[in-house]
């Protein structure tokens, strides 16, 4: 297996006095998709926020590529190769599609024209509408834009929080196709999803979190076929 690009070791975090994660360990290797599944309140979204520097990790370690980056600011992490797409409020509705993409590259100066074109090639449905306000886009198109914006700085690791939530079945298929394409282009993805079956279907490996702790981990296909996982988390 290739070398780890993201390592989470013993991460403890929460909101104020409320501890949500009690020592979680996750490893993501180069160009792989890793799914995190689990019941409501397991701490899945909280984990992504902690990795991205939006919550304080204490104790615990986050290592991006080979560098320790625990509790660094999001703008520092973005420059080091980490991208994050939150579940909601993930576009600027009063800005155009092009301006949203520009915001994705805000922390870096210089000519970005090649990056725009590369991102538009990956999301051709946005290319023809680049002057339109993001607020006019449908839910699925917004999710595409949020993904596209996160790719503007060519991240090594992308954190995705429920990318398929609130999308039509047709659009869910499209989103997961794009996620697979992002992986193929060399970006590793840590994916949090309630749509666990779909998430595990596109993933290489998976972790099951419950009550802020690791419960299970393994090959995504094995987790999909695991009867306990199916009964407890997939609703099968």
């Amino acid at each position: 297996m290739s070398s780890p690009v993201l390592q989470i070791e013993g991460v403890v975090t929460g909101y104020g006095a409320v501890e949500i994660l009690h020592g979680v360990d996750i490893v993501v290797h180069e160009a792989e998709i890793v799914a995190i599944i689990g019941p409501n309140g397991a701490g899945k979204s909280t984990l992504l926020k902690a990795i991205f520097g939006l919550l304080t990790v204490d104790p615990g370690h986050v290592t991006l590529l080979t560098e320790g980056c625990t509790n660094q600011r999001p703008d520092q992490l973005v420059l080091k190769g980490l991208g994050y797409v939150p579940q909601v409020d993930n576009v600027f509705p009063s800005m155009t599609i092009n301006e949203n993409l520009e915001m994705g590259a805000y922390v870096r100066s210089g000519d970005l024209s090649d990056r725009y074109e590369r991102v538009y090639q990956m999301f051709p449905d946005l290319a023809g509408r680049r002057g339109e306000l993001a607020g006019r886009l449908s839910g699925g198109q917004r999710q595409m834009l949020a993904l596209a914006r996160a790719l503007m700085l060519d991240p090594k690791v992308l954190l995705l929080d429920e990318p398929s939530a609130s999308l039509s079945p047709k659009m869910v298929g499209t989103i997961f196709e794009r996620i697979a394409a992002i992986k193929k282009a060399g970006t590793a993805i840590l994916l949090v999803e309630q749509n666990a079956k779909e998430a595990l279907s596109v993933s290489d490996r998976g972790y099951v979190l419950a009550m802020g702790e690791n419960r299970l981990e393994g090959d995504a296909q094995e987790l999909l076929e695991n009867e306990d996982v199916g009964r407890l988390y997939l609703g099968t």
Binding site: V88, G140, S166, P169
Partner: protein, 275 residues
């Protein structure tokens, strides 16, 4: 969850007695934002006591329709009737008092209040709201509060949030906030509940339990449900009838199996995986 007590009965009789009667009708309703018609001459109706699904592509106008029904938006034209009465253009609080409540796609919990406080706030005209009642009728105030507390606890049990009773709503996960919204909607003894994507972000196992309990609410209390949802398995298990919207208007209506077999619905919404 199956042993959970149901909330107090609403004023109307159980729906099975008049299952074919329309509780809600949308007649040629249009809502324009500038040059964009989000809802475009839409006509549909919801049967009393039914669990009716509303599906359609993102941007089809489903949430806008919910906003029109609940008074968050005023229709540009057309008529909305609830129990035969025209309610289109009324403010949300007036529509709420008529018996329609809703949940939101993105939950709007009161973050700095606890989970149970979010629910206890719902019943209107509580005796303790007036300061002189607290002075002159303390026992009445306390008895009523205790009754509301008990009902709120029953509902938290119902949505599996009972272990989080005293947690601040801000600390709940996205899925738990969805469940809190559902419980809050039930606190008001509504005749009709509009659920905007109740399954988004909610674990599939818990959602399966909620389906059973929503059916109980309909069967035992006659509450009508109108549900926006993208999870077709959930729609098929839960709904008697499904309405499909596309480009602001009704595209199709029927059982889940019927709409799944409809070519136009497959093209506009479901995609190849359902063929």
């Amino acid at each position: 969850m199956s042993s959970t007590k149901l909330p107090n009965e609403p004023s109307q009789s159980p729906a099975q007695e008049s299952a074919t009667e329309q509780i809600l009708s949308i007649e040629d309703v249009t809502k324009s934002f500038g040059g964009v018609r989000a809802v475009n001459a839409c006509t549909l109706s919801v049967a009393r006591g039914s669990i009716t699904g509303l599906i359609g592509p993102n941007g089809a106008g489903k949430t806008t329709l919910f906003n029109l029904i609940t008074g968050f938006l005023k229709p540009t034209s057309g008529v909305i009737r609830f129990n035969g009465e025209r309610i289109g253009g009324w403010p949300p609080h007036r529509i709420f008092h008529k018996g329609i409540v809703r949940t939101f796609q993105i939950p709007r919990e009161l973050k700095s209040m606890t989970v149970i406080e979010n629910l206890m706030l719902v019943p209107t005209n509580q005796t303790g709201e007036r300061i002189w009642n607290s002075w002159f009728f303390p026992f009445r105030v306390s008895a009523e509060e205790s009754q509301i507390f008990d009902r709120a606890e029953d509902l938290l049990e119902f949505v599996d949030l009972i272990d989080l009773t005293d947690e601040y709503a801000a600390n709940l996960s996205g899925g738990q906030k969805k469940l809190l919204e559902l419980a809050r909607a039930l606190m008001s003894n509504p005749q009709m509940i509009l659920l905007d994507e109740p399954g988004a972000g909610v674990n599939r196992v818990l959602m399966a339990k909620l389906v059973t309990n929503i059916e109980r609410l309909r069967n035992d209390l006659g509450i009508t449900f109108f549900v926006i949802e993208h999870d077709m398995d959930l729609i098929a298990r839960l709904c008697d009838e499904v309405i499909v919207m596309s480009e602001g208007a009704k595209l199709a209506q029927g059982t889940a199996d019927e709409v799944r077999a409809n070519e136009e619905v497959l093209d506009a919404y479901l995609g190849g995986q359902y063929r």
